[in-house]
């Protein structure tokens, strides 16, 4: 919302109030009233008095501004549907961060993906480019460290926030003041995140349109799948599973999953798309693995120290870390805590002091 002196002028005219009369009623100088008419925002206590004297709602003296946020949540967890409400809530999450990005200049050169189609060849080409950019060793699956590194190379600010329950998503890509921003649900288990973050990374690399077609969504899924599990890895695992029963196959897949830091379910679905009993077995194993693998919250607060928290933050989200660092002197301690999702776990004042010192944690 932006102050508009013309709106005040018009309300005064409607009520037959001259500048002088208004100035008298508010106990301010005529010059002050002139400045409000000329778009100077009144101080809070003047605004309160103005609304009481004129009998108007404060917002009626301000004009709406176009949103600087686009692309709210477009992909929900498993069976959840993307609804208008979900989009609206995620939009509000992103809007809350918008002032932080205001006036921040965008990097001149960012990697961009262009494709003239969404066929299998394009999926392979795009996945290969992204794997190369992320520095993932050949024939190896993509880990969560790789995907955060990839987001950083794509110029994405990664923001970790606890999502409202209604959002039902692990992550969503957004453009905020023209910057690529990926919001990640802080309560997610890192085991579940890789595919969804890769999906958002593909959107980011496209320099997203405001409307997302189902064709593009399918393309992003296909690319994310191949970045996470390259065909060579799939073939290798497949070779290990021949002539084994479901339980033996699940056991081998578990071994590979633990070694390479991924969940079993995604890989199993690629290997055996129609074997429902096996899907059931590996889902249970995944649930067991999740108990031993940290959520993002667990990762951030593992050390119980502000310096440890900042080290992890800087590693996973260097661009957003630097942004907070550059703005720390004009943010209240609680705002720093809110932006970094401290949720009272750590002392926000201490975190602000440490980050503002501009020393490496």
């Amino acid at each position: 919302m932006k102050w508009n002196g013309e709106l005040l002028k018009s309300v005064c005219e409607q009520r037959g109030l001259s500048k002088l009369k208004l100035a008298e009623q508010l106990a301010v100088s005529r010059q002050t009233v002139y400045s409000w008419f000329a778009d100077q925002v009144p101080k809070g206590h003047h605004l309160l008095k103005l609304c009481n004297v004129l009998g108007v709602e404060p917002a009626s003296l301000f004009e709406s501004e176009p949103s600087v946020v686009s692309v709210p949540v477009h992909r929900a967890k498993s069976n959840a549907k993307v609804t208008k409400e979900r989009r609206q809530i995620s939009h509000e999450v992103a809007e809350d961060f918008a002032p932080l990005f205001s006036g921040v200049s965008r990097a001149e050169l960012l990697p961009v993906i262009r494709t003239d189609g969404f066929d299998e060849n394009k999926v392979r080409e795009t996945a290969a480019k992204l794997r190369q950019l992320a520095g993932i060793p050949e024939a190896k699956p993509c880990t969560y460290e790789h995907v955060f590194g990839l987001l950083s190379k794509l110029g994405c600010y990664v923001v970790f926030v606890p999502f409202p329950a209604e959002v039902k998503s692990y992550a969503f890509y957004s453009e905020v003041h023209g910057h690529r921003v990926v919001f990640v649900n802080r309560h997610s288990n890192v085991l579940d995140l890789v595919f969804f973050l890769l999906h958002e990374a593909v959107h980011a690399a496209f320099d997203e349109q405001k409307e997302i077609s189902s064709e593009l969504e399918d393309f992003c899924d296909a690319v994310a799948g191949q970045v996470q599990f390259p065909p060579e890895y799939i073939q290798f695992v497949k070779g290990l599973l021949t002539k084994l029963d479901d339980a033996q196959q699940a056991s081998i897949i578990k071994k590979m999953a633990v070694e390479n830091g991924h969940a079993l379910y995604g890989l199993t679905k690629i290997l055996f798309p129609d074997n429902k009993p096996l899907h059931g077995i590996v889902s249970k194993i995944d649930n067991g693995l999740r108990k031993n693998i940290l959520t993002l919250d667990g990762l951030f607060f593992k050390s119980g120290e502000s310096s440890g928290f900042l080290s992890i933050y800087r590693l996973l989200s260097p661009l957003f870390y630097s942004l907070i660092q550059s703005r720390a002197d004009s943010l209240s301690a609680r705002r720093v805590g809110e932006l970094m999702g401290l949720e009272s776990e750590l002392d926000a004042a201490q975190v602000k002091t440490l980050i503002a010192k501009k020393q490496e944690p």
């Binding site: 206590h45 609304c51 404060p58 502000s306 609680r334 004042a349």
Partner: protein
């Protein structure tokens, strides 16, 4: 009414007057966020292990006040002015949702603010002419109204402030304290 928005200040004052948030004569209130910070933050668990003794004493502002017309009007004004430029540094104020809620309470109910946060202080001072109240000023108020006697135990707590890196108190309040109690304020 003093609204206490600094965790360390709140904890120190609770040791001096444990009933300050449940006995209305002390004129003190605390926002809900203070309770979360005191009991959930790792640093406070380690730095102030004794804080658990005050669990039942830390009562916070009732949710009903956030439904009042006065609060809602102030909340809207705060929302519209919270991104104004801070005249001290030329940058927009960067307040959290909790800061804005506290500011709206201060404006709606004419509370007096006590916080160590410079941004919240600057915002309320610049936009609403609200000054910050130091914790020693609050103690002096209690003493002047004879709500408690000053003894060696309380003096020892005050000496602890320095150990806990509490901010230095205003000179005029130190003078007032010494005049009321006849004791020397622990030197910084």
């Amino acid at each position: 009414m003093f609204v206490l928005c600094d965790t360390c200040v709140l904890l120190m004052l609770l040791r001096i007057a444990p009933d300050m948030l449940i006995d209305s004569r002390f004129n003190c209130v605390a926002p809900r966020q203070m309770r979360d910070e005191i009991f959930k933050t790792q640093k406070f668990k380690e730095k102030y292990p004794w804080r658990v003794r005050f669990g039942a004493k830390v009562q916070t502002l009732p949710e009903s006040i956030f439904e009042t017309v006065e609060y809602k009007r102030s909340q809207e004004i705060v929302k519209l002015t919270a991104s104004n430029i801070n005249e001290k540094n030329g940058k927009p104020f960067g307040l959290s949702h909790a800061d804005k809620a506290i500011a709206a309470c201060v404006v709606a109910f004419e509370y007096q603010l006590s916080t160590g946060d410079t941004d919240l202080r600057s915002y309320l001072n610049q936009e609403f002419g609200v000054s910050n109240v130091s914790p020693l000023e609050i103690i002096n108020d209690w003493l002047a109204r004879k709500l408690m006697d000053w003894d060696d135990n309380k003096q020892a707590i005050l000496e602890d402030w320095r150990r806990c890196e509490e901010h230095a108190q205003p000179k005029e309040q130190i003078k007032a304290f010494e005049a009321i109690t006849g004791r020397t304020y622990p030197a910084y």
